[in-house]
């Protein structure tokens, strides 16, 4: 079956009152972005509270659906057969042909639901329903009508052209990216942070990201892996501004001056500070991390409180209550998992204490940080100034 158009349904954004056009425009923009990854020419437009994608050239159906399924805000994707109006008899033939190809010999119940936007059409919607229903019943042996709970709801919309569709492929839900401000994701090469970014992005938030690398303790490949992960997340979120911070000197300085078992917590506090700096610089309204309570020593309630303490922006932790397997499931679904498990070190293990503190007190940590007074401001400034900025696009 060849479909000439996709009718896209959106959920929550329908209820946003006067802001609605903002949401619709964002959605159209994201659909256009996502279709850049597909070969072919498409026209995306809104009309009468719906969004349509007209296919102007040959295209790969699976590929288009796959890409549309990544656009947050869409709840349904309906592949549409679009026809010129060449009289009712012709329409009957087309509907019967459509039904045969889609449902063939199967047993199913159906209902025709016609909408007549073009009021000059010679039949009204009730008449269309009856006559088309009759034609389908006559020609498809397995079909029977059920007007209350049909298995197949066949929509026939009469506009300047006629649209036929009966399938609704579920979309990802959520809200279109760009409708809820921006946030800064602390991105690593692990499994959790890409998932966290995806989840917040799903609520319409534009993503920025910061990655800390520590050459030569971490390799170019480890950095490339993070860029690759950002690229996968960008399929959903749109382009991501990625800050790559060289963290080596700060890390070594902390290693030199502070108790070893507090190293990770203190390091994370400085990571948060630097990430927040970039967040404020680019107008973000929050930070995002992939932390989950108790997963590792630096993610106990006490540790989270200690790292949280340095931030003024809210810190969003969408996977906070998830078990590892639940996070892995999402990572697999969004296709980051395979990349996340590539074996390049993120933050070299030489710096991790054998027994890090699991219940740090903010007071003690602050006391330890006093040892850093001499140089830390300067090192932070250097790290910020030498940060590499990469715009990561999926397509």
């Amino acid at each position: 079956m060849t479909f000439q158009t996709f009718l896209l349904k959106y959920g929550e954004i329908g209820i946003k009152g006067k802001n609605r056009y903002l949401f619709e425009d964002a959605l159209v923009r994201q659909i256009k972005y996502s279709l850049k990854g597909v070969e072919g020419k498409f026209n995306v437009y809104k009309s009468q509270a719906r969004i349509y994608v007209d296919c102007l050239s040959e295209y790969d159906y699976e590929d288009v659906v796959e890409h549309l399924k990544r656009v947050f805000g869409l709840v349904g994707i309906c592949p549409v057969v679009r026809l010129e109006d060449e009289g009712f008899d012709r329409l009957k033939e087309e509907v019967v042909a459509y039904m045969k190809e889609m449902y063939g010999e199967k047993d199913f119940t159906f209902k025709i639901e016609a909408r007549r936007a073009k009021k000059s059409y010679p039949k009204n919607s009730m008449e269309i329903n009856c006559d088309l229903g009759e034609a389908v019943l006559e020609n498809l042996k397995g079909s029977s009508v059920d007007v209350h709970k049909p298995e197949v709801l066949v929509n026939v919309e009469v506009r300047n052209e006629i649209y036929i569709y009966s399938q609704i492929i579920p979309g990802p839900g959520g809200m279109p990216v760009g409708t809820n401000g921006g946030a800064m994701l602390l991105l690593s090469g692990g499994i959790d942070s890409p998932v966290a970014g995806y989840m917040i992005s799903k609520r319409g938030v534009k993503l920025h990201a910061t990655y800390f690398h520590a050459p030569p303790y971490t390799s170019e490949r480890a950095k490339q892996k993070v860029v690759d992960l950002a690229k996968i997340v960008a399929r959903y979120s749109g382009p991501i501004e990625l800050n790559v911070v060289n963290f080596t000197d700060i890390q070594l300085y902390i290693y030199d001056k502070c108790p070893h078992d507090e190293l990770t917590i203190i390091m994370r506090r400085y990571m948060m500070k630097i990430a927040e700096h970039f967040a404020l610089e680019s107008g973000c309204l929050g930070l995002i991390t992939g932390e989950s309570i108790g997963q590792v020593a630096s993610q106990t309630m006490q540790s989270l409180a200690a790292t949280n303490e340095v931030c003024t922006l809210p810190v969003y932790r969408p996977v906070i209550g998830f078990d590892k397997q639940e996070i892995v499931d999402i990572a697999e679904k969004i296709d980051t998992y395979e990349t996340s498990i590539l074996p390049f070190e993120d933050c070299c293990t030489i710096f991790v204490a054998k027994h890090p503190v699991t219940k740090p007190s903010v007071k003690r940590i602050k006391k330890s940080e006093e040892n850093l007074q001499d140089k830390i401001e300067e090192l932070m400034k250097e790290a910020i100034e030498s940060t590499e900025k990469i715009t990561v696009r999926a397509f």
Binding site: P216, Y217, S219, C348, I350, F351
Partner: protein, 385 residues
């Protein structure tokens, strides 16, 4: 900044003459050697020429030369083909604990087919001792596979003596030599030495990747590994990689021109490097007291700095080396090269490999040494507490 490439045991730059020749074949003389027409004959001519060159260099017969997709395939074929070919005589295979994965992962596979493997230990220099081989030989031994030069530490095995031991015990036992790190670095005649199977990889001596060679001594009972259109006398099907084959032969020819001079140059570079790098405290050279060794590989243990960290630190200065990791082995009965030579524990994950080519210079070595003098003390400061 200029690049300094000291990872020539991983792969090498292709000789310009080789690349030129390959380009011409790919663009002009691209015929399939199996085609009946003139264009096909042109292709066939290159393969014949290559065999001719290589047969002369190795002092073997042309019909004993077979082309493969590289060293890994050559090793796989030698072991699997040789073992299957000899399975009526027995099921016992002998190899060593320091072979390349392209050998020991194959013996692992063959064990599942019912073959049995003895993994010979090596001494602290990475050498197989004659007596251990003698002790391992059995009535049902059918195949012995021992590498010419170890890829991580550069030790050269006493192949000539080992072959004699095996052939005296039972001339029917096949002797395979993985020559991938050895070929081109020394003059070696597999046929004259009594070796039955000898593996070569093109890209280790400035030839192209994706092409290798297996020498199979005449009348050896071998089973093919790749089936198809019956090319190479049905022993190795698949359209010949004509540009690759011609490139491999050309690179071999260049490597053998003035061979002794080139080998001496490499050895001089290496000896100089070893002498200087040893002056750094807490540095050890693995296998340095071996009776024979390749002229291009140095395995340097730098106590207190993880090999990957040192590798990336050198990379920042555009110096490319390899990490000689002890955990490269994933075979339960094999322990990796460094464990195989019983390297002290503190060097197991702190060893990097420098490997030179004739294109390297003394001033490059000086530059690397200078860098090491600077960075080693710095990184040691931050060793794990």
């Amino acid at each position: 900044m200029k690049e300094i490439y000291f990872d020539n045991a991983a792969t090498t730059m292709v000789y310009e003459e080789v690349a030129d020749k390959m380009k011409e074949i790919m663009i002009c003389d691209y015929g399939n050697p199996s085609s009946l027409h003139l264009k096909g004959m042109q292709g066939e001519k290159y393969v014949k020429e290559a065999k001719d060159i290589l047969a002369k260099l190795l002092k073997v017969k042309e019909k004993e030369i077979f082309f493969t997709s590289g060293g890994t395939e050559s090793n796989n074929w030698a072991l699997i083909g040789g073992a299957r070919g000899g399975k009526r005589r027995g099921k016992h295979i002998i190899t060593t604990v320091i072979e390349h994965p392209a050998v020991y992962n194959v013996t692992g596979f063959l064990e599942e087919e019912g073959f049995e493997t003895t993994y010979l230990p090596v001494n602290e220099q990475g050498e197989v001792e004659i007596q251990t081989l003698k002790d391992a030989l059995r009535e049902d031994t059918i195949l012995v596979s021992i590498m010419q030069v170890n890829n991580e530490i550069g030790t050269r095995q006493p192949i000539e003596e080992l072959v004699k031991v095996v052939k005296n015990f039972n001339p029917q036992i096949l002797f395979h030599v993985d020559g991938i790190q050895g070929f081109g670095k020394e003059v070696f005649y597999p046929g004259k030495t009594g070796v039955d199977l000898y593996s070569i990889s093109g890209h280790k001596f400035h030839g192209p990747k994706g092409v290798g060679l297996l020498y199979i001594k005449e009348k050896t009972k071998m089973m093919p590994l790749v089936f198809g259109g019956g090319q190479q006398k049905g022993m190795r099907s698949g359209t010949e990689n004509v540009p690759g084959i011609a490139g491999l032969a050309e690179a071999a020819k260049i490597s053998y021109d003035n061979h002794d001079e080139k080998e001496a140059y490499l050895r001089e570079l290496r000896d100089y490097f070893v002498e200087e790098v040893r002056k750094i405290e807490g540095v050890t050279i693995h296998g340095e007291l071996a009776k024979m060794r390749a002229p291009h590989i140095v395995s340097v243990g730098v106590e207190g700095i993880k090999s990957e960290v040192l590798l990336h630190a050198l990379e920042e200065k555009h110096i490319y080396v390899s990490s000689g990791s002890a955990c490269a082995s994933n075979h339960p009965s094999i322990s990796g090269v460094l464990k195989g030579i019983q390297a002290p524990k503190e060097y197991l994950d702190t060893t990097v490999r420098f490997s030179f080519s004739r294109f390297n210079t003394k001033s490059e070595i000086d530059c690397a040494l200078e860098t090491l003098y600077n960075i080693v003390p710095m990184f040691r400061k931050y060793r794990r507490r």
